[in-house]
C-alpha cells in the first residue's frame, strides 16, 4: 500500500503548453479546476463543451490526452512528474 504524501511535495507538469506546479497526488481534474478550467473536453457529436460531470470515473466526459497520446479520465488520474496534459480547449487556441 502506498502511503500518502505530504501536501508540500509538488510536481511539474505541462497543461496545454504551459508548465505548472501541482501538489503530488492531485488528480488532473482537481489541477485543471484549480487552474480555472471549467470544460475539459468536447462532445463527440456536436462539439459542445463538456466539463467535469460525474467526477468518479463513470462518464468519461473529463477525458484528456497525455503526451504519449493516451486518453485518461482526469478525475481518477493523479498527476505524475513531467506529465504532458492536453485538454480539448487547447485546440482552438
Amino acid at each position: 500500500m502506498g502511503g500518502s504524501v505530504g501536501i508540500t511535495d509538488t510536481v511539474r507538469v505541462v497543461v496545454d503548453g504551459c508548465e505548472v506546479e501541482a501538489p503530488a497526488g492531485q488528480t488532473i481534474a482537481a489541477l485543471l479546476v484549480s487552474l480555472g478550467y471549467r470544460s475539459f473536453s468536447r462532445s463527440k457529436v456536436s462539439g459542445s463543451r463538456r466539463g467535469l460531470f460525474c467526477g468518479q470515473g463513470v462518464c468519461f466526459e473529463c477525458e484528456v490526452t497525455l503526451g504519449d497520446g493516451e486518453k485518461v479520465r482526469a478525475c481518477v488520474t493523479p498527476v505524475e512528474p513531467g506529465m504532458v496534459i492536453r485538454t480539448d480547449q487547447a485546440k482552438e487556441a
Binding site: 500500500m1 481534474a29 482537481a30 471549467r38 456536436s46 460531470f53 460525474c54 463513470v58 462518464c59 468519461f60
Partner: protein, 463 residues
C-alpha cells in the same frame, strides 16, 4: 488461463463491503485476492486521498489498517473488465497500466463494487459546471479544490447537507439547497424507527445546523427545471415539478444529489439474475441469506446489491465472506450467522427510513417532458428521439439503442440506461420493472487495445 495463482476467492472492490469480506476470508485461512481500480483501498465512503495525509474517519482508519495487515492479496490500480464463468470457478480479466498478469482465477467471487451517482436530466444538464454531488464532494474533501464559487445544490436527501457544509467550510457561496421531497413532516412520525441510530442522526443534524448558521435557503418540494449559459452554467431555474413557482439564481456550479444507483454491472454481465427495485436504486441482484446470487459461487455485497449505506455494507461483506467460505467447504457457526442477521436487520431500518423521507427521485421528479432534453450525453440522443422511435414501434432498450445510439458512447450506458428505461416505461405504459435492463458485455470499461490484444479477439468492444 496459464499457470497463475488459483485463489479461493477474488473480491472485487476494496470499499467497506469488500474489505470486511476479505478480512473474514483471511481469518478463516482462505486465500483471497482483493482488486480495486483506485490507487488506495477505502472505496467511496472511506476514501483515502492520494493527495493529503488527512485520513478517513477512525472507523475507516482501523478497517483499512486491519485490511493492510491481513494475509491477503491486494491489487490496487487495477480495472476488472470481464469475467468468464468456468466449470470450477471464474476467470477474471484485468487491466493495469503498469502491466502484469492479465488473467486471474478464483473458485468464488465477491462483487463489492459499490454505487455511483444517479443522474436526473433536465435542459442544460450537459453544460460545464453541472456536476454530480458525489464528484463535487470528492473534489473538495479529497482534493482540496472548490468545484465552484456560487453553487446551487439540487436533489434530495441528507448528502446534500453534507456537501453544503463542506462547500461552506471551503469558502464557497451556497446559494440554495433544492430538495425534491416536501418538508419531512412525515419523518417526525417515523422517528421511533431511528432508535439506535444516534451516530448517523448526529452527522446529518450537524450538517443541517451548519446550513442554518450560514443562512442557506432550503427549497422543499422543488426541482431544477433548467440550466442556462454560453460556455458553462450561468443561471439555474428551479420550481415545482409542474413548472410553476419558478425562481432563478445566478450560479457557476450546479451539483446534482439525487442519490445513488448500484454498480453491479459485473454481476449482470455474467448472468446473475437481477430485478428492478426502485427503493434500492435500480437493478439489484437476487440473493439468498448469504448474499449469494443466482449464480453459484458469486456473491454481491454492499451498495452494489442495493443502496443501503456503509453500515449495511460492512455487515453484508462479512456475510458474503462467510458465504464464500461455506461454498469452499469451511464450516461457519449458525449462531454467528444469526447474530449478524439481527444486526443487519437493525441497520436496514435506517436505510428504509431515508428512502421513505427522501424517496427515489422518479416518484417525485417527473420525467423530462421537453423533447429537446438530452438523454444520452455521449451520443447526444434527446428525449424526443427516443419518443419518436417508440411511437414507431420500438419497445425495448435494445431497439432504442440500435436505432438511436443511446448508450453506445464511452460511458457505455452507465449514465443513461436507467433513464432510457424510465422513458420507455412512461411512453409504453409499462412498469419500469418490466423493461429489460441493458445487456452488459465486456469490456466493462473502455480499455486500451494493448490491455486485451492477442488473446481476446472474440471480445467485441462496445465502441
Amino acid at each position: 488461463m496459464g499457470g497463475g495463482t488459483r485463489w479461493d476467492t477474488i473480491v472485487i472492490g476494496a470499499g467497506p463491503a469488500g474489505m470486511s469480506a476479505a478480512l473474514e476470508l483471511a481469518r478463516l485461512g482462505l486465500s483471497a485476492l482483493v482488486i480495486d481500480s483506485a490507487p488506495l483501498p477505502g472505496g467511496q465512503y472511506f476514501k483515502q486521498s492520494t493527495l493529503r495525509a488527512k485520513p478517513p474517519s477512525e472507523e475507516g482508519r482501523s478497517l483499512i489498517a486491519a485490511f493492510a495487515r491481513a494475509e491477503l492479496g491486494r491489487l490496487m490500480d487495477t480495472q476488472v473488465w470481464g469475467i468468464t464463468p468456468e466449470p470450477d470457478g471464474f476467470e477474471v480479466a484485468v487491466y493495469r497500466k503498469s502491466g502484469g498478469e492479465r488473467r486471474l482465477w478464483a473458485r468464488t467471487l465477491i462483487i463489492a463494487t459499490g454505487a455511483y451517482d444517479r443522474p436526473v436530466p433536465f435542459p442544460g444538464w450537459d453544460l460545464p459546471g453541472v456536476m454530480m454531488a458525489g464528484g463535487a464532494l470528492t473534489m473538495i474533501k479529497h482534493q482540496g479544490v472548490l468545484p465552484g464559487r456560487r453553487v446551487l445544490l439540487c436533489g434530495t436527501g441528507p448528502l446534500q447537507w453534507v456537501l453544503a457544509r463542506h462547500l461552506l467550510e471551503g469558502g464557497a457561496q451556497v446559494v440554495g439547497i433544492v430538495d425534491a421531497a416536501p418538508f419531512p413532516w412525515k419523518a417526525l412520525r417515523r422517528l421511533t424507527a431511528l432508535m439506535g441510530q444516534g451516530e448517523r442522526m448526529r452527522e446529518g443534524l450537524g450538517a443541517w445546523a451548519a446550513i442554518l448558521r450560514a443562512g442557506v435557503p432550503v427549497h422543499w418540494g422543488k426541482i431544477i427545471l433548467r440550466a442556462e449559459g454560453a460556455d458553462g452554467v450561468e443561471k439555474a431555474v428551479i420550481g415545482r415539478p409542474d413548472g410553476t413557482s419558478t425562481r432563478s439564481f445566478a450560479v457557476d456550479t450546479v451539483c446534482l444529489g439525487y442519490g445513488f444507483q448500484p454498480f453491479n454491472h459485473l454481476a449482470r454481465m455474467i448472468g446473475c439474475e437481477h430485478r428492478y427495485v426502485a427503493p434500492l436504486g435500480g437493478w439489484v441482484p437476487l440473493r439468498d441469506d448469504w448474499c449469494e446470487t443466482t449464480l453459484s459461487g458469486v456473491f454481491v455485497a454492499g451498495d452494489a446489491a442495493g443502496i443501503q449505506g456503509k453500515d449495511v455494507a460492512l455487515l453484508e461483506g462479512r456475510l458474503a465472506g462467510w458465504g464464500a467460505a461455506r461454498r469452499l467447504g469451511v464450516d461457519v457457526a449458525d449462531d454467528q450467522v444469526k447474530a449478524l442477521g439481527a444486526q443487519l436487520r437493525r441497520q436496514r431500518v435506517m436505510a428504509q427510513f431515508l428512502s421513505y423521507v427522501f424517496p427515489y427521485p422518479f416518484d417525485s421528479v417527473p420525467f423530462p417532458v421537453e423533447d429537446d432534453t438530452i438523454l444520452c450525453r455521449c451520443e447526444e440522443v434527446r428525449v424526443g428521439d427516443v419518443r419518436r422511435i417508440v411511437r414507431e414501434g420500438a419497445s425495448t432498450l435494445r431497439m432504442v439503442r440500435m436505432l438511436t445510439r443511446a448508450g453506445m458512447g464511452l460511458c457505455q450506458g452507465r449514465t443513461c440506461a436507467d433513464l432510457v428505461c424510465h422513458l420507455l416505461a412512461q411512453e409504453t405504459g409499462t412498469p419500469v420493472a418490466d423493461i429489460a435492463g441493458p445487456r452488459i458485455s465486456p469490456p466493462l470499461f473502455p480499455i486500451p487495445l494493448h490491455g486485451v490484444i492477442g488473446e481476446e479477439a472474440h471480445v467485441r468492444s462496445e465502441n
